[in-house]
């Protein structure tokens, strides 16, 4: 064995009185991929932020390549060869793709920026990631998946010795995940150490050699991946036995909740027809950029579009804004919870009641009623937070997602459109959310789930619409819903005469 590239000794971190990490002692060898698992709020991101110098440890030391530090800062840690893709986006929205890729590590010629070289290198790196992007595009124009790939590109142009990946796969589809893993393996061969966080146990199993499991800020396991099964991992994370992940699919479709005819968004979405029943969980699957989000946003009145008809519960509401959509009983959970979902400097309570504020208002807002409701949600969804007054910006990613879900649920919508609903959520909670979604359907609500996770689509949804390049490429039900078929349709390797209402007739 070589010398470890990173070594932490009794690393502790508290925020105020809250202790988040306790006595983490860890060695990471060059060329090793270490998986880090833990429930939401277990302290995974905090650990990585300590190593990358974003946070200062309360006590303990970090050793990089034999040098010992009591505290780091981002500049120093970068200097020592540590590169990180954080859980939340870390790109400058006003700058271009290539400018972001080289931010803080610009190429120069005679003191000035060598833009051509940077552009060329950006194209090359993105190509190696199988992403086609204009290096001059501005970040704010990109989809979340594209942003994620830009983040990956940043790390690649940086000659890092240690690469930290905090849930890089949550917004990627399987295809991009495969690409990313190839890249990680190539780095590994060059002797780069990789720290990898994911809630997808299979990914950890595939990619990592070693595994660390955190529970409530304590290190409960450090072992070889080969020695454990996925079930073992889940059990150790949660600290008890877990039952099956997905609820039984029990479709009792009743009346039609929503019927959409010929939705068009120029250049993005074409002739989309959709029929959704109460009691149904309908899946929208497809590759990144296929236009699923746009369909949802058009339904919510967030995007200009044309359509022939939109019937919701027998009525034809005129939906021009999310407000109209809410009034019609529809609610939408965006895939971009930071940019579109939650107000980061609002407390949990204020976020949860933002859509439903009327409910708590008789003249003035009743804070106690708000609080009680928030408390309910906190215990129902097991939201981990110091208090209900905490700003959601301080919560762990998964817990933010739960708050976001609570925010939608608080208006008790009849139709839910959930775009990547379990993004960044740990296995246990994921399971809870699946049961929750299924439960909603059982109560007679209609749910659309947009997901890039095939497993989720397959385990939860029936029927499933596969979207390709803005069109419905296929409508699958029952046994048709399997990984192979979905992928073939999504990638355009197989065609159907899809998109007509007849073809999409009601499933019994």
């Amino acid at each position: 064995m070589t010398d470890p590239i990173i070594r932490t000794r009794d690393l502790c971190k508290s925020f105020g009185a809250v202790s988040v990490l306790r006595n983490i002692t860890l060695d990471i060898q060059p060329g090793e991929v270490l998986g880090i698992l833990g429930e939401n709020g277990a302290g995974k991101s905090t650990l990585l932020k300590l190593i990358s110098g974003v946070y200062t440890p309360t006590s303990g030391t970090i050793e990089i390549g034999g040098e010992t530090f009591n505290q780091l800062d981002p500049i120093l840690s970068r200097h020592k060869g540590i590169a990180m893709i954080p859980q939340e986006f870390n790109l400058v929205p006003t700058l271009k793709v290539y400018e972001n890729v080289f931010l803080g590590q610009e190429r120069r010629r005679r003191g000035l920026l060598d833009k051509n070289a940077m552009r060329a290198e950006t194209v090359k790196v993105l190509e190696s990631l199988k992403v086609r992007l204009n290096p001059n595009a501005t970040i704010s124009e990109l989809s979340v998946a594209e942003k994620q790939m830009v983040e990956v590109a940043r790390v690649l142009v940086n000659d890092a010795r240690v690469v930290i990946l905090d849930e890089p796969t949550t917004v990627l589809t399987d295809r991009e995940v495969t690409v990313l893993f190839d890249v990680v393996r190539a780095m590994q061969e060059r002797g780069v150490a990789v720290l990898f966080i994911s809630h997808k146990l299979k990914e950890v199993k595939n990619l990592c050699q070693h595994l660390m499991i955190l529970r409530d800020g304590e290190q409960v396991e450090l072992c070889d991946v080969a020695d454990v099964t996925e079930d073992d991992m889940a059990r150790k994370m949660v600290g008890r036995e877990l039952s099956q992940t997905f609820p039984e699919k029990q479709d009792h479709p009743t009346s039609i909740a929503l019927e959409l005819k010929n939705l068009n968004i120029p250049g993005l979405v074409h002739d989309v027809n959709l029929k959704l029943h109460h009691g149904q969980v309908l899946g929208l699957s497809g590759l990144v950029g296929s236009g699923r989000t746009e369909i949802a946003e058009a339904l919510m009145g967030l995007r200009r579009h044309t359509r022939d008809k939109l019937v919701i519960n027998g009525r034809e509401p005129d939906i021009r804004s999310p407000n109209d959509a809410h009034a019609a009983g529809m609610a939408y959970l965006s895939e971009d919870r930071q940019g579109k979902g939650l107000v980061m400097n609002f407390s949990l309570t204020e976020n949860i009641t933002l859509l439903s504020l009327r409910k708590y208002t008789s003249g003035l807002i009743s804070r106690s009623r708000e609080r009680r409701q928030a408390q309910d949600f906190q215990s129902k969804l097991a939201i981990k937070a110091a208090s209900l007054e905490t700003h959601v910006g301080l919560l762990s990613g998964g817990n933010q997602q739960k708050v976001y879900l609570a925010k939608l649920l608080d208006i008790d919508p009849d139709i839910l459109i959930l775009d990547e609903p379990t993004r960044g959520i740990d296995v246990n909670t994921k399971r809870e959310i699946y049961f929750l979604i299924r439960g909603l359907a059982e109560q007679g609500k209609a749910v659309i789930v947009i997901s890039s996770e095939l497993e989720e689509i397959i385990g939860l949804c029936d029927p499933v619409l596969v979207v390709r390049e803005g069109r419905i490429a296929a409508r699958l039900t029952g046994d048709q819903i399997n990984e192979e078929d979905i992928m073939l349709y999504a990638a355009g390797a197989r065609e159907t005469v899809a998109g007509t209402t007849e073809q999409q007739g009601i499933t019994p």
């Binding site: 105020g16 919510m300 967030l302 804004s321 999310p322 407000n323 959509a325 809410h326 939408y332 965006s334 940019g339 579109k340 979902g341 939650l342 107000v343 980061m344 400097n345 609002f346 204020e350 933002l354 859509l355 504020l357 009327r358 208002t361 003035l364 807002i365 007054e389 925010k407």
Partner: protein
């Protein structure tokens, strides 16, 4: 030393849990310190009449600052309020002088003033929302436009009211306090309720914090922004009433000059961030009082005219620095 800090942390924790807004504590402390220093520095400072004077002097920009607080929370800014004071004043005195019956004149005049203020605010808001002009530039332009109109309509001359009742408003007292002070207080209470206890206030903070999130949450972002400017305009209307009736006249060239800076300073000293998303009315009230006390001190201590700017700037810096120490 460390223990003291710990105790401080504990105290602030307890305060926070008690529901008392921590953010207004900082300007409050700054104000109290300033009051203590002032009363030590000048024997006349604590004189009741002096305190009444300060509060009345503060009320004109204070009322405006309250309106501007809303605009700033929505991440906007309003530079036109000073000129608007003059233009509204011209409209007001013109109207008041149209009626022979003093009561009628005053009532219709006041209504017109508030209306005119709201209307000018609406114009600002329309430029920002429909015109998509950034608030700084939109209100910089209307600042110039409103002043120009005030000069034009009054032929640049001072307008004097001929109504016998009119001066009683800004010059009068009720229960021992000047009417402008009462007005300031009442507006502060109403504004506080609006901001902290109604859906509008909550939505406003969401808009200022992240307009995109607000839009996705079904909040009518543009309408909220528009309303903030209307509120600011209406506050200007009221302030203009207080000022014009106190002076029984309005000088179109001079009225409200630099009020925009004073108002914004009060808001920011009061702890409301210029980047929007949160803010407190009581903070603004403290901010306005802090500025008023500074002005009073400059006169009380007889500071050299040349150095008044130095002292004023210095005290503002210290007051804000003190807040920072408080906050961290």
């Amino acid at each position: 030393m460390n223990q003291a800090r710990l105790a401080g942390a504990r105290l602030s924790d307890r305060l926070r849990n008690s529901g008392l807004d921590f953010s207004i504590l900082a300007p409050l402390v700054a104000l109290i310190v300033l009051l203590v220093i002032s009363s030590l520095a000048s024997e006349y400072f604590l004189d009741l009449r002096n305190l009444t004077n300060i509060t009345r002097q503060v009320s004109y920009t204070g009322i405006i600052a309250i309106g501007v607080t809303f605009v700033i929370i929505a991440a906007g800014i309003d530079l036109s309020v000073g000129s608007m004071v003059a233009l509204v004043g011209v409209v007001l005195i013109y109207t008041v002088n149209q009626f022979a019956d003093p009561v009628q004149g005053v009532i219709i005049g006041l209504a017109m003033a508030v209306l005119a203020g709201a209307l000018f605010g609406l114009l600002n808001g329309a430029l920002v929302t429909w015109g998509k002009i950034t608030p700084f530039i939109a209100t910089l332009a209307t600042m110039s436009i409103y002043r120009s109109l005030a000069l034009y309509f009054s032929d640049a001359g001072e307008m004097v009211s001929t109504n016998s009742l009119f001066p009683e408003i800004g010059g009068g007292y009720a229960l021992g306090l000047p009417i402008p002070v009462w007005t300031f207080l009442i507006i502060a209470v109403l504004a506080h309720i609006l901001l902290a206890h109604t859906p509008f206030g909550r939505h406003l903070c969401a808009v200022g914090s992240n307009a995109q999130v607000a839009r996705y949450s079904g909040i009518r972002v543009q309408r909220i922004i528009l309303i903030t400017f209307v509120i600011a305009g209406a506050c200007v209307g009221i302030s203009s009433i207080m000022l014009a009736s106190r002076l029984n006249s309005i000088s179109p060239s001079d009225a409200g000059v630099f009020y925009e800076l004073d108002a914004i300073a009060a808001v920011v000293i009061g702890g409301t961030a210029l980047s929007g998303g949160r803010g407190s009315i009581w903070g603004t009230v403290m901010g306005a009082l802090i500025l008023g006390v500074i002005n009073n001190m400059l006169n009380m201590l007889g500071i050299s005219p040349y150095l008044q700017g130095l002292v004023k700037g210095g005290v503002i810096l210290v007051a804000v620095l003190m807040q920072y120490k408080q906050n961290h």
